[in-house]
Structures are given as structure tokens and as C-alpha cells.
């Protein structure tokens, strides 16, 4: 067993345990933090595949931004576990069915002819000056440009919809306008009055 295998197996063990922890741990803050750990070990596994751009982007986007906001929300909510567990057995058959379908789909893909150690051999190491980022950029903006643009538009639509759903215009609300406040001049706020003294000395 060489060094890469050691890294691979230890990362895989950490990844699977932390992923299991996400759904079994009782404290929601712990489970969010375990999800962060899962993302980071997953990025480590991608680094082994020489996909350094994807690995670092995973950490940058999911760990650095998405999970921060997740944690933000989870910490502010007072989650009552007993109420969450109320309908567990009622919904269990439905959940089990969905899980079974997902397992079936995944096995169909993974056991199909496109995957497996023959079709997906260990990648041959590239030269030192090979840039994963440049290759990825070239592919995205030439061969897969339509798919890429479509995904971008979809995300934009989702973002606009989310903002539109939560935006409420209220007439009775007063809010300060910072750009106006910043540009205030001394003359607008301050009136210097010359008051003549009452007694001349």
C-alpha cells in the first residue's frame, strides 16, 4: 500500500463517518459542522484525482460561503427535536421508498458500462505546468458553452425568484438612506447664529 492509498482510505473513512454523522447526530449545529468536514475531506479526495480547481472551489464556495450561511440560520433557530420526530413512523415507508429508488438509480449508473475500474482508470500524472483551471475554462467556454449558459440562467432565475418571494414593499416603514446620510454637509445641519451680548462691557 503506497502513500496515496493511505490518504485515500483515511479520507474515505472520515468522509463516510462524517456524512453518517450529519444525519444521525442530534445537535443541528454539530451536524452542520460535520457536513463541513465531509466537504473538506471530499475536496481532499478530488485533489488526489488532480482536480485541484474543483477541489479548491468546493472548499471556497460550499465551505466558505454556503455552509457559513447554513450555520448562521441553524444557530439562530431554536430547533425542537421532539416536534421534528413526531411524524417519523408515519412518513417512514415513503422515505424508505425514495431511498430505495435512489439506491437503484445510483447502482444503475455506477454498475453500468460507463463506470468501473476498467473504464475509469487512475489518471496518469500530468506535467508540472499542466493547469487544471485553464483546461476547465477552455472546455466550459468552448465545447459546453450552451449547457454552461443554461445553468447560469437557471441559477439567476432561482435567485431572482427567491428575492421576489421574500421582498415586501411596505409603506409604513421608515429606513435611513445611507448614501444621503454620508453626503450630508455641515451647512445643512448646523445653523450658526450670532447672538448679540446683552451688556456691553
Amino acid at each position: 500500500m503506497n502513500f496515496q492509498d493511505v490518504i485515500f482510505y483515511s479520507f474515505s473513512v472520515i468522509l463516510i463517518t462524517s456524512a453518517l454523522g450529519v444525519i444521525t447526530v442530534r445537535n443541528p449545529v454539530y451536524s452542520a459542522l460535520l457536513l463541513v468536514l465531509a466537504f473538506i475531506t471530499c475536496a481532499g479526495l478530488w485533489l488526489l484525482l488532480e482536480a485541484e480547481f474543483l477541489a479548491i472551489t468546493l472548499v471556497l464556495v460550499y465551505v466558505g460561503a454556503v455552509m457559513v450561511l447554513f450555520l448562521f440560520v441553524v444557530m439562530m433557530l431554536d430547533i425542537n427535536l421532539d416536534r421534528l420526530r413526531e411524524g417519523f413512523w408515519k412518513w417512514f415507508p415513503f422515505g424508505a421508498l425514495v431511498a430505495l429508488i435512489m439506491v437503484g438509480e445510483m447502482s444503475m449508473v455506477l454498475m453500468g458500462k460507463y463506470f468501473g475500474s476498467e473504464e475509469m482508470p487512475t489518471p496518469t500524472p500530468h506535467d508540472v505546468d499542466y493547469s487544471n483551471t485553464r483546461e476547465l475554462g477552455r472546455l466550459i467556454y468552448t465545447e459546453y458553452v450552451y449547457a454552461f449558459e443554461l445553468a447560469a440562467v437557471l441559477l439567476l432565475v432561482a435567485m431572482v425568484a427567491a428575492i421576489a418571494l421574500t421582498l415586501r414593499h411596505r409603506e409604513d416603514k421608515k429606513s435611513p438612506n445611507p448614501s444621503k446620510q454620508v453626503q450630508v454637509k455641515k451647512e445643512e445641519r448646523l445653523r450658526i447664529v450670532a447672538i448679540p451680548s446683552e451688556k456691553k462691557e
Partner: protein, 365 residues
């Protein structure tokens, strides 16, 4: 070096020996970066107190000295502070989540130190010369926020929690502006490798540094860097007058010091990145004899010290921003500016050859 490697191979066998050899050399290199960095942090606190003191017409720390030498008065202060912090008890408040309370300072200092792995100190002097260096730095600095959030939550205190919430929102919003400013740098240099970015600024004088063509981005990056490190005037996460000391109000002793170390090493990191990406890194300001004799390493240190002085200067002179104004500056001012600048830069880079060589336009190439 070769001899030591052979000895390792003889002692532990071929495979294990070479593995252990690379492990030890890397560990030695890591220590060679981290120990000067921590000393730099200690003396940055001293410099901060002195600079602010002189700006406020005081003297600053002027007592603790080494071996009673009179002209070193004050220079022993950071060491004395470190010893004091080591001796103090770490109090864990009742009701705090003990595990996360201890984990939080570790999570803060770890990315702050790990980001230094890709910083090039001179053309040869870099621990990890990786292709995606710039992205790695962004990823590492964005992880530092976890320590703050967890500290705020695990302390089980309202002040700490408010500080953590403020800090999380602030860091996430300024990261975007920072990232977009860096996109401009990588468009100019055509590379994510920090060494290549410095090499792209090579030329006769400082006019070739990215400071000149990307001046607005330099300002955006510097200000976002100050906001990212939660420094004054953006230090609402600590806000002594409003929420006591923010996320680290319940920390004491060494645990508190670790937060401090992380904040100051992040400051030095932002200063180092500003020097590398906008001020030409290890390159001398003029490519003529008296300047080229000084090694590149010294130039980089001088530039870092110069940028750090700005941090201290801002802290001494600006009042604290109001929270909604911080958010406005990040989202409504910086992000539009950077987005417009990216498009503009792209257009300029696509100009035909004849137009590019016109006097004022050629600074972009």
C-alpha cells in the same frame, strides 16, 4: 541535502525513507515560516501600540527591556504579554459547549497559518508552488470565519453571539468584492500562480506593477482586506462600546491569545498578498543598481511593512463604521465597481494591437 536523504533511505528502507525525508524537510520549512511569522505578530502588536501612541501624542509601551539595556525599552513588551497570557487560566463558562469552545480558536488559527504555504518570498523561496495558489488563498481565508461563528455560539452568551453574527455577514459580503478584485489581477497575469503573478509585473520600474493599471482594484482589495480581518474601522464584530468584545468576550488566557494571533497573522497575510499582487512582490521599485543589490526577500518585507502601516494608520484615525453602512459599502459600492472593472478590463484586453500600443493604453499590457 542529498546526504541526509541517503541516510534516511539507509535507516528506513527506500520507500519509507524517502517519505519520511520529505515529511521532515517539509516540517522544517513550515517551522521556518511559522516561527518568524509568530514573532512578526508579536512585534506587530508592539508596532501598533507605538504607532497609535505617537499619533495620539503619547509614548506607548516604554518599560520592559532586555537585560536592562536602556535603548531597548519597550521592546520586551510583546514577550512579557505572551508570558502573561500563557500563565493565565482558561475559564470555560458554565453552559458553554466545552468541545466547540476549545475547538474555535484552533479553527481560527489553522487557516490563518495554512494560507502562508503558497506565499512566494523570492523567486525560489516558496513552500508549495501550486498552480491554483490564488484560489487556495481565497479558500483558506474564507475558512477562518468558522472559528469566529463557533466561538460566538459555543460561549452561550448574547454578546458573543451578536458579534459572531455580525462578523459572519460582514466577512461573507466582503469576500465577494475581494474575489472580484482578484479576478482582475488574474486577468492581467493570466495565471493563478502567485509566483507567475509577480513575474508578470517585471519591468524597468514600479510603473509595471499592477498598482497602476488596477488602482481602483487595489483600493477595493485593501479596504475589503481590512473588513475581512475585522479591523478598525470595520471592527463591529468586536465593537467594545456596543457588545463588549464580541465573539471572544468569554475567552481568557491562551485561548484568547490564539484569536489575537490569528487576527494579526491574517493582517500580515493580507498585507503580503497586497504586496504580491499589486506592489510587485519581491521586485525592486527601479531596476537599476542600488535597488537591485538588495535581495528580493527584503523588498517584500518592506512592502508588507508599508501596507501594515496603513492598517495601523486607519485604526488610529477613522471612527467605526455603522453596521448598515458597512453592508452598503460592500454590496452597493464595491461589487458594482469591481464588476464594471472586470468587463472594462476584458474589453481593453481584446483591443487590436495598434490601439494597444498608444501611450496611455499600454500600461495594461
Amino acid at each position: 541535502m542529498e546526504n541526509i536523504q541517503q541516510q534516511f533511505v539507509q535507516l528506513f528502507g527506500t520507500e519509507l525513507g524517502s517519505m519520511l525525508f520529505s515529511l521532515t524537510t517539509n516540517l522544517a520549512l513550515i517551522f521556518a515560516i511559522v516561527i518568524p511569522l509568530l514573532l512578526g505578530v508579536a512585534y506587530l502588536t508592539f508596532a501598533e501600540r507605538k504607532v497609535i501612541a505617537y499619533m495620539q501624542i503619547r509614548v506607548g509601551p516604554n518599560r520592559v527591556t532586555f537585560f536592562g539595556i536602556p535603548w531597548l525599552r519597550g521592546w520586551g513588551q510583546p514577550i512579557a504579554d505572551a508570558v502573561k497570557a500563557l500563565m493565565k487560566e482558561i475559564v470555560i463558562p458554565t453552559g458553554a459547549n466545552k468541545f466547540l469552545f476549545i475547538l474555535a480558536p484552533i479553527l481560527t488559527i489553522m487557516p490563518a497559518l495554512a494560507a502562508w504555504a503558497v506565499i512566494p518570498f523570492s523567486p525560489e523561496l516558496v513552500l508549495a508552488d501550486i498552480n491554483a495558489g490564488l484560489l487556495y488563498i481565497l479558500a483558506m481565508t474564507s475558512m477562518g470565519i468558522y472559528g469566529i461563528i463557533i466561538a460566538g455560539w459555543a460561549s452561550n452568551s448574547k454578546y458573543a453571539f451578536l458579534g459572531a453574527m455580525r462578523s459572519a455577514a460582514q466577512v461573507v459580503s466582503y469576500e465577494l468584492a475581494m474575489g472580484f478584485a482578484l479576478v482582475c489581477v488574474l486577468m492581467m497575469s493570466q495565471s493563478l500562480n502567485l509566483g507567475d503573478i509577480v513575474n508578470g509585473q517585471q519591468g524597468d520600474s514600479f510603473l509595471n506593477w499592477y498598482l497602476i493599471p488596477l488602482f481602483p482594484m487595489f483600493l477595493v482589495y485593501l479596504i475589503s482586506g481590512i473588513a475581512e480581518t475585522n479591523r478598525a474601522p470595520f471592527d463591529v464584530a468586536e465593537g467594545e462600546s456596543e457588545i463588549v468584545a464580541g465573539f471572544h468576550v468569554d475567552y481568557s488566557g491562551m485561548a484568547f491569545t490564539v484569536f489575537f494571533l490569528a487576527e494579526y497573522s491574517n493582517m500580515i497575510l493580507v498585507a503580503a498578498l497586497t504586496s504580491i499582487m499589486f506592489l510587485g512582490g519581491w521586485l525592486p521599485p527601479l531596476d537599476i543598481v542600488p535597488f537591485t543589490l538588495i535581495p528580493g526577500f527584503i523588498w517584500l518585507l518592506l512592502k508588507i511593512a508599508f501596507v501594515l502601516f496603513f492598517f495601523l494608520w486607519f485604526r488610529a484615525t477613522f471612527p467605526r463604521y455603522r453596521y448598515d453602512q458597512i453592508m452598503r459599502l460592500g454590496w452597493k459600492v464595491f461589487i458594482p465597481i469591481t464588476l464594471v472593472w472586470i468587463v472594462l478590463l476584458g474589453l481593453i484586453m481584446q483591443l487590436p494591437e495598434s490601439v494597444r500600443n498608444l501611450p496611455l493604453l499600454n500600461i495594461w499590457f
